[in-house]
Symmetry: C3
């Protein structure tokens, strides 16, 4: 692993903006924080008196919880604003909402928004740090960082790994951030999914589109299934969940094509029996719950780094 | 009162699983914590750095608030997940939701769920402690514990007391937990309510079903009215609220049949003029607000005990 | 400015109940707290172990956030109860809800309610302090206090100032609290707005009703535009937003009629292009974001003062 560089980012908007050195720096920092969550007293004073606002304009359970746990374990004060309680529905522009929050002197705004680019827009208008917790189908950088961290718990490096990502690539910010991250770190990314789930310009990102899930999984070091995001499809893009499961669901037979030490990943929440069979999700290949555990550590690292933790250390 | 035993429970799933010694142990512990809420600085460091997740998959105001106040007065960090923001509606199983929360290293999950047995199911899948904050029409153990504590503030013992519970027994987890608790502690429990509110097998729990509310209240040491849970009835089981009030509402005339030092209780929220007349709810017999105050103390005790407070002391 | 008097108010229900000395006392206290929000560690231990309940029975983003930030920066524990999760929809009376919260020993209840007078009612039933965060179209005292503080950052005194308030006076608790505050502090308040937005008895409050927005703004030291509260009108009271903007929207041409050093204010959220043109909202006259910053400081002061901070100091 590379020697940690100086971390210079004020915002975490996407993996696109991060260098491989940045990614390794974040993961190294996250590893140093991970054991805090195993202590009897899960709390360090590092971010005491810092104000962290969770501005979630799309529903979320685990990402919001993960960021909130990360912030409180660093002793920051956290504040939750959700879509339903937000002023945006009162006709206020997003920029005004952000500037109003900014006027209350937060240190970080963690933001989820249904539109791609919303956090990037705000980053130009506020003084505090913005962490993108998912913007439309665009990016979800903390998810990609926890995914890379989880793979690196088992593999020396991502360089030369074959990583299969299966499912709804087009609508998945997780897929996009992971394609950026995995290719930056030297892995070969192979995509599989129904044609309606595959964006036309995807190869420009450096990923390889396979004609079948079997091709993608064959020889793979990592198999990542994506969630069918039913709530984000206005028209059904697949004939049925049953048919999807038959053609694209990850099962034991399919995993026989992968490397023997393959890692199975899923960003959650899982539709069991659709994207993945229960025996795969709960099997020895699965690192799905490690992803969740690493998520808290990655988010602690992000909060620490954007607030200049390295410089004060 | 019995000498406090060693408290060995990791979860608090129901009164059914607790011994009379356990119940007294919890109440004794709660009494020692009660005065904290009367101090100018209502905070002790006992649970500092502990992570308490409120997973409320059914709406709740006071129970969630009571647990959150209890946790924060012990210096724990609290996190609220509600039904509307939960992943469960995204097709995730309850076990996956719980295992995902577990992967973030909480110490306690406080859980309310519409289905009976949900907390018991989770208790087999997670490492942290589960406290049942109400599961369907099954159990609501912290409510029964605060009720027993409130009675014991006024009576030497529950042994030999006559306790009338009036109302919707069939749909009430409060009734079920209290029947378990009161009979374990030696009281005679007399039930009254419309036939549609009386479960067929209720006498197997050791309670006596009365043919009229007058019979139940006559000579009673405690009269507990239950709330008409209109939101949990798909079809109306009573002709009208007016008629219910006439036949089953607790009023002054009815209370004349009880012991002179009768205690009047209600788990709240009260439908005034339905289950209980205002002059009864606000009268000298009423210990309804003492129940609420004791609720915070009981929940402090439960958090302390499941986290092994006795052993570290 | 007057020498700070002893602050004797247990509740903050409205500006109507406050003397000019009280208002100056709050603003002086707020000024002393304001710099805390600019520190690297934005936290003082002043209210450690105090319990602050945000009971918001109407939706709110910024006011709730502002109070929550104020409370946590003083180290109080905060608890949020919102309308959708409240027992009030289960048939409980507001007084019972408040008495139940009271039984859990809070120190302050911050309350927003759709009905005028609701906080005043509760103030007679609970032992803790009540701060009105907006009751119907009646009062919103903390908003008026932050508005006065913002003006006094730029003007020596309010005495003799001409302050124009433009818009929906009838439905605006902000207008009502500000009319009370500005007239108590010696300013001349000039109102302008469509006839359907002007209450019949408004002159009894000491404000002057102008026949045009131009008359109100001419020579003004302060121009405050109110938000068109679309969600609070059951029937549209204005023909169209476009027409409103033409006749009552604040624009550069209109501001030329005011004093050169006029301050432009808005309680937010702004409907840009309706109540106010973007170049005015973002222009050099605008102190709109200063209002938000001062809001946190005023709310820190209110929490401190109702909890007897002066006496313990």
């Amino acid at each position: 692993m590379t020697e940690p560089s100086i971390f210079i980012h004020k915002h975490i908007l996407g993996i696109k903006e991060l260098s491989p050195q940045d990614i390794h720096h974040i993961i190294t920092t996250a590893r140093s924080f991970r054991e805090i969550s195993n202590r009897p007293i899960k709390k360090v004073p590092t971010l005491r008196g810092k104000t962290v606002v969770n501005l979630f304009l799309e529903p979320s359970t685990r990402t919001r919880l993960s960021f909130e746990i990360a912030a409180k374990r660093m002793s920051a004060d956290t504040f939750n604003l959700s879509g339903s309680s937000s002023s945006t529905r009162k006709g206020e522009t997003l920029i005004d909402t952000a500037r109003n929050i900014q006027a209350m002197n937060p240190d970080v705004i963690i933001m989820r928004h249904g539109r791609s680019g919303a956090p990037h827009l705000l980053g130009r208008y506020v003084d505090c740090s913005i962490i993108n917790a998912g913007d439309g189908a665009h990016e979800h950088p903390s998810q990609a960082l926890l995914d890379a961290m989880t793979i690196l718990d088992h593999k020396q490096s991502l360089a030369g790994l074959k990583i299969a990502i299966v499912g709804d690539i087009a609508h998945s910010r997780v897929a996009h951030s992971n394609i950026f991250s995995f290719t930056k770190l030297g892995a070969q990314v192979c995509l599989a999914g129904p044609a309606t789930f595959m964006p036309a310009d995807i190869t420009s990102l450096g990923a390889h589109v396979c004609t079948s899930v079997g091709e993608a999984v064959t020889g793979a070091d990592v198999v990542m299934a994506l969630r069918i995001q039913i709530e984000r499809q206005h028209d059904p893009l697949i004939p049925s969940l049953r048919e999807y499961a038959v053609h694209y669901g990850i099962n034991r037979a399919l995993l026989k094509l992968a490397k023997p030490d393959v890692l199975v990943m899923h960003p959650g929440p899982i539709n069991r029996g659709v994207e993945m069979n229960p025996d795969v999700a709960d099997g020895p290949w699965s690192v799905i719950l490690d992803q969740v555990t690493n998520g808290v550590a990655v988010r602690m690292a992000l909060l620490y780094l954007v607030l200049g933790g390295d410089k004060s250390a």
